[in-house]
């Protein structure tokens, strides 16, 4: 795992950026989180986290094409970088390793 520590929310957002690929922008991420895990997150919190992840080099962003929706404003599209993917993978592995260490049989009443 890298030297940067990733918080739970950061990891969630990073994962979502990975899932949504070319269509990941603020609102889409909020909606996706609501759909998939039923959690209400705040748009501003998502934005702040996205910018922080960008600072860390885990995602990068570009402006999408102009549309008629959104009052003509363009979307800021985020994509996951290789570093971001590596970070996600490393975190998953660490978690799996730890999971294996938990005794799987629990005796009731003890």
């Amino acid at each position: 795992m890298g030297k940067e520590y990733l918080g739970e929310f950061e990891e969630l957002i990073l994962t979502m950026v990975g899932i949504l690929a070319e269509d990941s922008y603020g609102n889409a991420i909020v909606a996706e989180i609501k759909d998939r895990i039923g959690r209400d997150v705040n748009l501003s919190a998502v934005h702040v986290t996205l910018y922080r992840l960008e600072d860390k080099g885990l995602i990068k962003s570009h402006m999408g094409g102009a549309t008629n929706a959104r009052g003509g404003r363009r979307k800021r599209i985020f994509t996951i970088t290789n570093a971001g993917l590596a970070m996600l993978r490393a975190m998953k592995e660490v978690r799996m390793d730890l999971w294996k260490l938990i005794p799987q049989l629990k005796i009731a009443g003890s």
Binding site: S44, H47, Y51, R73, R74
Partner: protein
């Protein structure tokens, strides 16, 4: 069908645009608008709009706002360097102006800082007490025949406990009584000169004087217990390691008392900003015994001070309004104590600055004077700032080309304003540095004047964060305000006009500049008037005929270890006789009090021929037969005391002397008729005395106090001080001789003396201090105003150089040019001087109200300052004006 409202509200979006970094703005706004559209479909417009506003505010968070910095800082830094360079060049280019600006502002700030120290100390009194907000002092006014006869803090010992019993809103009460001098013997060594109070066991709960050793709740409970202050504990027991527990339980002997007192605690020294000061506290219960319970239950003995702590939330005014019923219930008009009693509550926060009580143990100062000093200090600061504004605007033309060029290069108005405010900030910072240097160098002399140990660091560290914020806010506001006006003027120049070279001195700001000069000189002239009147009043008080001679009078404290017995009068007389043998001693007398001190009052005096229901109040004094001769008090009728009037047994005394005011009070038509009359005084309204003489009124206390009716009785007291009138000559040797005699007569007692005039003048310490501070400030105000005037006049002179040249060529004389140049300024100063008259008159009239005996305000006192101000102003501008007038037109006009 008409489309329902769909547009997003513009103001919140503009707010978003304002704080959001431009790079992120589009993406964020887009997301918000998309959300908004979806919300309209799902919930309707109102709901959507509310959500949008809420969401925008959610974006107002550090994670977004702080992303602004990078882009802006770079631009600012470049321009900032440029501003700095330009400011530096400007300061160098016009050294005199910059020096005037920095000095003027610096002096003003320094004065303000010094006064701020002083004022914040005065306002900090008693705040260290934890129950400060809820603590009240009970005060007591007494009326006889409808007239106020005493306005004091002393009352009967029953007041505190009875009030606490009757009114549930009182959480705690404490009573105390001054215990006088602490003449103690510790391990066979005598100590003198410390003072103590008798205080009950609640005292340490009401006031916050933490104990360094001993138990707070029980230390003052038992009889013959004493709590020492840290200072006295060190002095008596030589404690050096700060461990005071060892001296708890040790004994000391007080005065002639054979009963030892037990040390039950050691408390911190009372802070200098405590209105109660003491070196020791003796348990109040010491005063109470089965045989002598008066200190606990008397309704006539009034030497006790009471403090109440109210329960949180209780309103003291409500409680105070119940005191009328209290007084009626326990005092039944004037039946119990001989006078009608009214009780009041004084919040602890007013005890130091707003007390005018008699028999006050509080350290007091004149609150009005403290505020007056603060106002004057702020005035000076204002004058200094006005100078800055005035000089900067008047010199605006010098900067006009720079402004024009900057505008051509693309500078917008807001940038120029920023630049000039930055410059004023720079000058202010320099002025602050200068002010701090001044304060540090002047601190010790200032401390001498105000007689205190003030320092900037203690004040700053003692400030609460709230106050610091206020101070910082005031400074920033001043910087912006002083920079704003010049910045506004400068930044509004039209580049086209300025750069063409046609730009002339604008008449705009003329009015303001004049108004500012008038304001400055009004303040200066008012201050001069004030100073003159204050110093006149001080001189008057110091030289007034007191009706009593206090010059060359040496006071020797009475022997602290001698007791009164049948041979005492004999001893005192031979002591006085021995003193008279000393070469240089004119006369000597003993009395229970000396001029300058508040005397005790007797409330139940009447003429023997009057019914027993009538009461008169007089101040009383016990004196020996040589008192009136020693003090040169005029005898108006009858005779002075004779040695035969003195009786060994106090109960045998039957002669009194009264003063003229007492004759008036008793309603006797002439002083001659008073002699021989009998009065009733003391002994529960049965004891009769014969008036043998009437003396003239004299100022027992300062001229702030009225002369009261007085009654004298011929008696000696074991610890009475001796007043010795000296010939001027060599006092050193005389004092040494007197000490020899004293030691001879009273071996083992300590010899303490002082000159009466010094102690009497101490009553004016507060006034002298005010006088000194106000005169210093006046000088400062004049200096600063003059600095401004120099700057302004030299600038006008330079502006009009060419005009003067032309005039001279056309034949104008130096005189006419001097008049031309000065008349403008002198007009302003004249207006200012006239404006100052009513201000000075009103405020000084107000100030003089505090003195019963005062100077009358004559018109000369007001004309003189006007004249002084005019002369100063004329002198100030004369150098500049003369130089301009004498200039050679050939030099000034050669480039035209």
């Amino acid at each position: 069908m008409k489309e329902p409202l769909r547009d997003p509200p513009p103001i919140p979006l503009r707010f978003l645009e304002w704080f959001c970094p431009p790079a992120l703005y589009e993406g964020i706004e887009g997301d918000l608008l998309e959300q908004f559209d979806m919300d309209i479909k799902a919930h309707g417009y109102k709901h959507a709009r509310r959500r949008l506003v809420l969401n925008i505010f959610r974006f107002f968070r550090p994670g977004i706002i702080l992303r602004n910095r990078f882009s802006f800082q770079l631009i600012d830094l470049i321009m900032f360097t440029n501003y700095l360079i330009v400011a530096y060049r400007n300061i160098r280019k016009s050294k005199a102006f910059s020096a005037i600006n920095v000095c003027g502002l610096g002096i003003g700030l320094a004065a303000c800082l010094l006064i701020f120290q002083f004022v914040s100390f005065e306002l900090s009194y008693d705040k260290f007490n934890e129950k400060f907000d809820r603590t009240y002092r009970v005060t007591n006014d007494r009326y006889q025949n409808g007239k106020l006869i005493q306005h004091g803090t002393i009352m009967y010992p029953t007041i505190g406990p009875t009030m606490a019993k009757d009114y549930p809103e009182i959480e705690e009460y404490t009573r105390l009584m001054p215990g006088g001098e602490l003449n103690v013997k510790v391990n066979d060594k005598n100590y003198r000169g410390d003072y103590c109070h008798f205080a009950d066991e609640h005292f340490l709960a009401v006031f916050t004087f933490p104990l360094l050793a001993g138990n707070k709740t029980t230390a003052l409970k038992d009889r013959f217990n004493i709590v020492l202050s840290e200072k006295t504990a060190k002095k008596y027991f030589g404690v050096t390691d700060g461990n005071y527990t060892d001296i708890i339980g040790k004994n000391l002997y007080w005065g002639l008392d054979v009963q030892p007192y037990t040390i039950s605690g050691v408390c911190i020294d009372p802070p200098p900003n405590s209105h109660i000061q003491f070196e020791g506290l003796v348990s109040y219960s010491t005063l109470i015994s089965a045989e002598e319970p008066h200190a606990d239950n008397s309704w006539t003995w009034s030497d006790m001070r009471h403090y109440l702590v109210l329960k949180p939330g209780a309103d003291y005014k409500t409680l105070e309004s119940k005191f009328e019923a209290f007084s009626e219930k326990y005092f039944q008009g004037d039946k119990v104590s001989g006078s009608v009693e009214k009780f009041f509550l004084q919040p602890l926060k007013e005890a130091h600055l707003y007390s005018d009580y008699e028999y006050d143990i509080a350290r007091t100062a004149n609150g009005k004077a403290v505020w007056a000093m603060l106002i004057v200090a702020l005035f000076i600061l204002l004058i200094a700032w006005i100078n800055y504004i005035n000089l900067t605007t008047s010199r605006a033309i010098d900067r006009a080309k720079e402004v024009g060029l900057r505008k051509v290069m693309g500078a917008v108005k807001s940038q120029l304003i920023k630049q000039f405010i930055f410059e004023s900030f720079l000058i202010t910072v320099l002025a602050f540095v200068f002010a701090f240097i001044l304060v540090i160098t002047l601190q010790s002399s200032f401390n001498q004047i105000v007689n205190n140990k003030l320092s900037l660091t203690t004040i700053i560290t003692s400030l609460s964060s709230g106050n610091i914020l206020i101070v910082v806010a005031v400074i920033i506001a001043c910087v912006i305000l002083s920079g704003f006006y010049p910045a506004f003027i400068l930044s509004s120049y039209q580049p086209a006009v300025v750069l063409k070279g046609k730009f002339q001195r604008s008449s705009r700001g003329h009015f303001l500049r004049k108004a500012l000069v008038i304001f400055q000189f009004t303040a200066s002239a008012a201050l001069i008037t004030g100073t003159i009147i204050v110093s006149r009043q001080l001189v008057y008080m110091n030289s007034a005929d007191l009706g009593i001679d206090i010059h060359n009078t040496l006071i020797v404290q009475g022997p602290e270890l001698s007791g009164y017995d049948s041979t005492f009068i004999q001893r005192a007389e031979s002591y006085k006789h021995a003193l008279l043998q000393v070469d240089g001693v004119v006369n000597a007398a003993t009395s229970n009090n000396i001029p300058g001190n508040r005397l005790g009052r007797s409330f139940g005096i009447r003429l023997a021929e009057e019914p027993s229901s009538s009461h008169y109040t007089m101040s009383n004094m016990s004196v020996d037969y040589s008192f009136f001769d020693t003090y040169n008090v005029a005898l108006l009728a009858g005779r002075k005391f004779l040695p035969t009037d003195h009786k060994v047994n106090f109960d045998d005394l039957n002669t009194v002397i009264i003063n003229r005011n007492a004759v008036k009070l008793l309603g006797i038509d002439s002083v001659q008729n008073a002699v021989g009359k009998e009065i009733v005084w003391g002994g529960d309204g049965t004891r009769k005395w014969t008036i043998v003489g009437v003396v003239g009124d004299f100022h027992q206390e300062s001229l702030k106090k009225p002369m009261e009716p007085m009654i004298f009785r011929p008696s000696y007291g074991a610890n009475n001080p001796t007043s010795i009138r000296l010939k001027t000559a060599d006092t050193q040797k005389v004092i040494a001789d007197i000490e020899g005699i004293y030691k001879n007569f009273f071996p083992g007692n300590s010899f303490e003396y002082f000159f009466l005039r010094d102690s009497y003048q101490r009553q004016y310490n507060d006034d002298n201090r005010f006088g000194k501070v106000i005169s210093i400030f006046t000088v400062l105000a004049i200096i600063i105003s003059c600095l401004g005037l120099i700057g302004l006049s030299s600038y006008t002179a330079v502006q009009r150089t060419k005009e003067i040249g032309v005039r001279k060529v056309l034949g104008a004389s130096i005189y006419s040019i001097v008049t031309l140049l000065s008349v403008d300024f002198m007009k302003l100063v004249c207006i200012a001087a006239l404006l100052s008259l009513p201000i000075a008159y009103y405020s000084m009239q107000n100030w003089l109200q505090g003195y019963t005996y005062r100077i009358t305000l004559s018109w000369m006192l007001f004309v003189m300052p006007v004249f002084v101000v005019l002369m100063i102003a004329l002198f100030t501008i004369s150098a500049q004006v003369l130089r301009a007038a004498m200039s050679n037109p050939a030099d000034t006009l050669k480039y035209e």
